[in-house]
């Protein structure tokens, strides 16, 4: 095979895996939008907050240490213990559930029957509040996400594929990031679990009922408040998974909240209401932007990925305004 062809395959495979990383973020948006019609602007910040909390708990960091020290003149920063990863993840999930209860109790509960734009504005406020709260609680330093995930390229794959190129061609073997491979597996497990949950459990069916029609769901005794807490909790868990994967790539820092920007074109393309749409949309965006950067990028100065992701999404919107898998909304007059 020619080295050029192998490089092309490498770009496609890496694009697919980058797409999975985008999908992990997009999933959280879809879950909340599907169940409550809210476009949750705070989803990126939720990923940041979850990752900060996980690392803070894991490393035994004293929450609000800066505030405590400033008020009481103390100098405490760490409890002096390390919490095992699994326990730290479980505790973080607990924190995200608590967060969901607080959001429902103090924000959503007061905004029932308000226009979607009002709810959207509320999530913007929530995002800014959480960012500042996370800063006060855990500090703004960059933290290392160490939950035992692998990093670096797969040496085995590189060596195995090195001989695939035609003789005399410069080829160093196929490069795939081990972290991306793990993220792909996690995404598959997550999507299958969410699908089973929504299709085959009573709560899942209640979620779908609420998504279809709030009034009808209420009339058959489904508690809207409980459903919202469950949905925001699941979205919090998905945010934690996204925070772990992206945090392992770049360290846990406040720019993590900006990963939401990568999810928007995925949502536009895949639809705001479809879990498979978030995955397929992510894959299309991931491959599309990587291929464009590889083939056209060098001709026009590079750094085309962010731009191209939105262009691609807009192109799809022209033909399918509801996205590839979104529900077609027909309003009869």
């Amino acid at each position: 095979m020619s080295a050029d062809f192998l490089y092309l395959v490498e770009v496609i495979l890496n694009g697919l895996m980058a797409g999975v990383m985008y999908s992990l973020v997009a999933l959280g948006f879809v879950l909340i939008f599907k169940a409550s019609g809210i476009f949750n602007y705070a989803q990126g910040v939720m990923a940041l907050f979850a990752a900060l909390t996980l690392v803070g708990i894991q490393t035994g960091q004293v929450p609000f240490a800066h505030l405590i020290n400033a008020i009481f003149g103390t100098n405490v920063h760490h409890f002096g213990w390390q919490v095992p990863t699994v326990l730290a993840i479980a505790l973080t999930v607990g924190v995200m559930v608590l967060f969901a209860i607080i959001v429902e109790r103090y924000i959503l509960h007061h905004l029932v029957n308000q226009e979607p734009i009002i709810l959207f504005m509320a999530t913007i406020g929530l995002a800014y509040f959480m960012e500042g709260f996370g800063d006060i609680m855990w500090g703004s330093q960059i933290k290392t996400m160490d939950v035992g995930l692998p990093s670096g390229g797969s040496l085995w794959l590189e060596e195995y594929t090195q001989g695939w190129a035609a003789e005399g061609e410069r080829y160093y073997g196929m490069y795939l990031d081990k972290l991306d491979m793990v993220a792909s597996l996690v995404a598959i497990v997550l999507v299958v679990s969410l699908t089973i949950f929504s299709q085959y459990t009573t709560t899942g069916r209640a979620l779908r009922a609420v998504a279809d029609d709030h009034q009808a769901a209420l009339s058959v005794g489904i508690s809207l408040r409980t459903i919202w807490v469950i949905v925001w909790s699941i979205a919090g868990f998905v945010a934690l998974v996204a925070g772990i994967m992206w945090g392992a790539k770049s360290g846990v820092q406040f720019s993590l909240s900006l990963i939401a920007l990568k999810a928007l074109p995925v949502l536009m393309l895949g639809g705001f209401t479809s879990i498979p749409g978030a995955i397929i949309g992510g894959l299309i965006i991931g491959v599309g932007e990587k291929l464009f950067e590889y083939a056209i990028g060098p001709l026009i100065g590079g750094a085309t990925e962010n731009w191209f992701a939105y262009v691609l999404a807009l192109m799809f919107l022209v033909f399918r305004p509801q996205g590839l898998f979104g529900e077609k909304i027909i309003e009869r007059v």
């Binding site: 920063h77 290392t144 990093s151 990031d177 360290g251 820092q253 993590l256 900006l258 750094a303």
Partner: protein, 427 residues
């Protein structure tokens, strides 16, 4: 009654927050929040702590106390301009915007308001031409000096010849990241190396395409002009593809404790710097005693001695030295911003001055003048030691290719003068 209470609260707040009229005011345009907070916080701490130390130890500058009103920019240009507008009326002597984008916006405003800008190691490089940029001071070094010094170092390590080599510039796709491109193009022509430009979009969280390209093309050296998360991801991706770390050079904004990987993964990575490293300087004892131990530190004290803390403190020391120079020049303790500008233009940052400030040999010696607002452009090289988890200065402060840079500065500043109808000062 309510109105009365509100008015009282408002007046009290104003009285507490506004600096005392007689203070020497050194505003801090900081960013302690947002995606770049990890870099902005230690810098702002260093800037504030140095003035706090001067107040406690020396009773201010020339017997006049200093104050540091802080305004959060979030590294956002629009907010930075708002901060400038809100603070300039409080008697601000100098602004240190800590952002190239904000600096570009403030140059015409600050010039019109007769307030100097101190932009050490960032901002508009051609601001070094004092004949045209009367209120911009970017000594001791600028982006072009950094790029030239890195190329000189690469040349030195290659045995003096880099003709035919391929050097890749991985840069933040912004005004800041693009700054070194003209210099590197000129140097590529002069030395005969190939330059590959690889931009990374803000914020730089996803760089797979860029590093796959680097893995395919295998450049001999990489120069990194990044900031924030872009640096950490770039180093992680470099380690992932097993790029030799000692062939990779960052500019000073890509050479902090934030920009390294755990363990030995980034061992050997090098970066340009315009000041020394570590906390083995007498000034730190004073900061510990008068600021940290006294509970007056801007942060929690954990950043003291880090690269960015040092940089903020060094900028504060430069501003304080210029203020003292202005007091001497004008025979006036309560100087104005215009006098401060004169102080910056006549600054003499000698070894003796740095030693007296408790920072002996901390940076290169430099002087200001009407024409030269950029100093000598001397830059050092530091290297990350994974064993000690610390930066070490491995190449002293050396002058860049001032012939190439001088021509570029002249061309760029002349173009600015023509665009803005500025008549160059007779220096």
């Amino acid at each position: 009654m309510k109105l009365k209470q509100l008015a009282t609260i408002a007046l009290t707040t104003l009285a507490v927050s506004a600096p005392v009229a007689a203070d020497l005011v050194f505003p801090s345009l900081s960013y302690r929040t947002g995606p770049y907070a990890a870099g902005g916080t230690p810098y702002a701490d260093g800037w504030a702590d140095y003035f706090t130390m001067l107040n406690a130890r020396d009773g201010g500058i020339g017997g006049v106390m200093t104050s540091v009103p802080e305004c959060e920019t979030g590294y956002n240009t629009a907010k930075g301009v708002e901060c400038y507008e809100s603070l300039k009326g409080d008697g601000a002597l100098v602004f240190n915007p800590l952002s190239t984008g904000i600096t570009y916006q403030l140059i015409p405003k600050a010039t019109a308001d007769d307030i100097p800008l101190l932009t050490q190691g960032y901002g508009r490089t051609s601001g070094a031409n004092g004949a045209i940029f009367s209120h911009v001071f970017n000594f001791p070094a600028n982006y072009w000096a950094g790029a030239s010094r890195i190329v000189n170092r690469i040349k030195h390590e290659a045995g003096g010849d880099i003709a035919g080599k391929n050097i890749a510039l991985v840069y933040h796709n912004s005004g800041y990241g693009k700054e070194p491109i003209p210099t590197l193009k000129a140097l590529a022509e002069k030395h005969g190396f190939d330059l590959t430009l690889i931009p990374v979009d803000h914020p730089g969280q996803e760089q797979k395409s860029q590093w796959l390209q680097i893995r395919r093309e295998r450049p001999d050296n990489i120069i990194l002009y990044g900031w924030g998360v872009m640096n950490q991801v770039a180093l992680q991706e470099a380690a992932n593809i097993r790029y030799p770390m000692d062939q990779m050079f960052g500019i000073w904004w890509s050479g902090t404790e934030n920009d390294k990987l755990d363990g030995m993964a980034s061992h050997g990575y090098k970066a340009a710097t315009f000041h020394n490293v570590g906390s083995e300087y007498p000034v730190y004892k004073d900061i510990q005693k008068h600021v940290v131990d006294a509970g007056l530190a801007a942060g929690d004290g954990s950043n003291v001695g880090s690269v960015l803390y040092n940089r903020g403190m060094y900028a504060a020391m430069t501003a304080a030295t210029a203020a003292a120079t202005a007091q001497d020049m004008h025979g006036e303790k309560n100087i104005t911003a215009g006098m401060m500008r004169d102080g910056l233009e006549n600054i003499n940052m000698s070894d003796a001055v740095m030693a007296a400030a408790g920072l002996p040999k901390f940076g290169p010696e430099f002087t200001g003048s009407c024409a030269n607002h950029g100093g000598t452009g001397q830059v050092g090289i530091q290297q990350w030691d994974g064993n000690k988890q610390a930066w070490k200065l491995i190449g002293g402060f050396e002058s860049p290719d001032n012939k190439v840079i001088g021509e570029l500065i002249k061309a760029d500043s002349d173009a600015y003068a023509a665009e803005n109808n500025i008549t160059p000062r007779d220096c």
